[in-house]
Assembly symmetry: C2
């Protein structure tokens, strides 16, 4: 049974699975450039390693990925295009769910994950139009343009910055809905200002001063929160402050 997308030049070669695999491969290189291994994909997609082997062979046959047996998996130009098309779909849908249907931050991911395979190109472009062609989604992830161009801002995970660094939050990973709810409750959002203070003794939580442009308050953040918040430099030349 192939109920798949009609009307989708960029998405011509696909079952939902192909799309998911390509997107997962792309995701592991979007914010830091690490080629992905078979087992990492299996974890991310929640399937067995053997399933990944099988599907990766198919991706290679379709010309979407390159893969030497027993080594990392990478996308072809074609695969990269497909991944960006899917990411565009996903992020426009998330934006729609939040702006038009009143979804909360932490609710949109799963819904968009399903819808992105189903809607037509026409739907997506009309939606983009209605939303005014937004450039980032509710989590701060950049939305690729219809022509496949993306601008991924320079940013680092908060937890990887040294004390003294200042910046503002431009991305919040949506991997963990609980964390998103916590951040909501603490009124931490995109564009919040943040200053890194340092760790509490004995490897304790990271202390930051965080809030709106006017009101910064001190807050302790656990490792997961520190990893989920991505910060753009206020002082882009002081990269020396970045812990490597």
């Amino acid at each position: 049974m192939p109920p798949m997308n009609r009307n989708s030049p960029a998405l011509s070669s696909d079952s939902a699975s192909v799309q998911d695999y390509v997107k997962a491969i792309y995701a592991s290189t979007e914010w830091r450039d690490q080629p992905v291994t078979s087992s990492q994909l299996a974890v991310r997609l929640g399937v067995a390693n053997s399933s990944v082997s099988g599907m990766v062979r198919k991706l290679v046959d379709l010309g979407l990925a390159v893969h030497e047996p027993y080594s990392a998996i990478e996308l072809t130009a074609e695969g990269h295009r497909l991944a960006l098309a899917m990411v565009r779909r996903h992020r426009l849908l998330e934006t729609f769910l939040v702006q038009e249907l009143g979804y909360a931050w932490d609710e949109v991911h799963d819904e968009a994950e399903l819808l992105e395979h189903t809607v037509s190109d026409t739907f997506i472009e009309r939606l983009a139009n209605k939303l005014g062609h937004p450039e980032r989604d509710p989590h701060g992830d950049p939305i690729p343009a219809a022509d496949g161009t993306v601008d991924v801002p320079e940013a680092n995970q908060l937890g990887r910055l040294d004390p003294g660094h200042t910046g503002h939050i431009i991305r919040i990973s949506d991997a963990n809905p609980d964390l998103l709810r916590f951040l909501s409750a603490e009124r931490i959002s995109l564009d919040s200002r943040v200053e890194v203070m340092g760790h509490r003794p004995f490897g304790g939580p990271l202390v930051v001063r965080i809030g709106s442009a006017e009101h910064l308050r001190e807050l302790d953040l656990g490792d997961e929160a520190a990893a989920a918040l991505w910060v753009a430099n206020d002082t882009p030349h002081e990269n020396c402050l970045l812990r490597t």
Copy 2:
């Protein structure tokens, strides 16, 4: 691979196929009460007869349909509930596509057909809310309420009315997009007034006077158009005018 609906009590038992079959069975009884046969289902769903036999067995196993071999297929109460839930989804989605995304009449059916299997109950209820809980879709089909109640208006196909009958159009079948475009071009829409004049000689087209409350103009309609337009009586007691 079962990527199906989470979060859907009324829709718990389903692949997309089950939903489609149940909806198709329901559809054949919505406007006139005719139980559907195996081969009719096959035509409607675009599959082979043998596929219908197989899936109907499954529907029976799931408690969604009743079926004596070699006879007509009917829904159980449970199947009827599922069908109404799917119809609600479909019609709300069509309404959304037209009202919010600027789709034309004739474009919405296929898109809704895919989306209805994918969106969550949460999505549907928030959408209903945003749309103001509409009672009919862009084609005039009634939208079942969330609790499963529907009000299917009394109506007859225009082609089945005798000369002299007057009424207004409350439903336009969306089965043929070309026909919808024709009707659009002729500015025939929901709530248009119509008077049946009669057939041109030798079984020619049906002549009607049709238009808005003020301006009626004469128009010839072919059999397909006359079958697609459903008319509510202005004079509900004169059923004698209905050709049987």
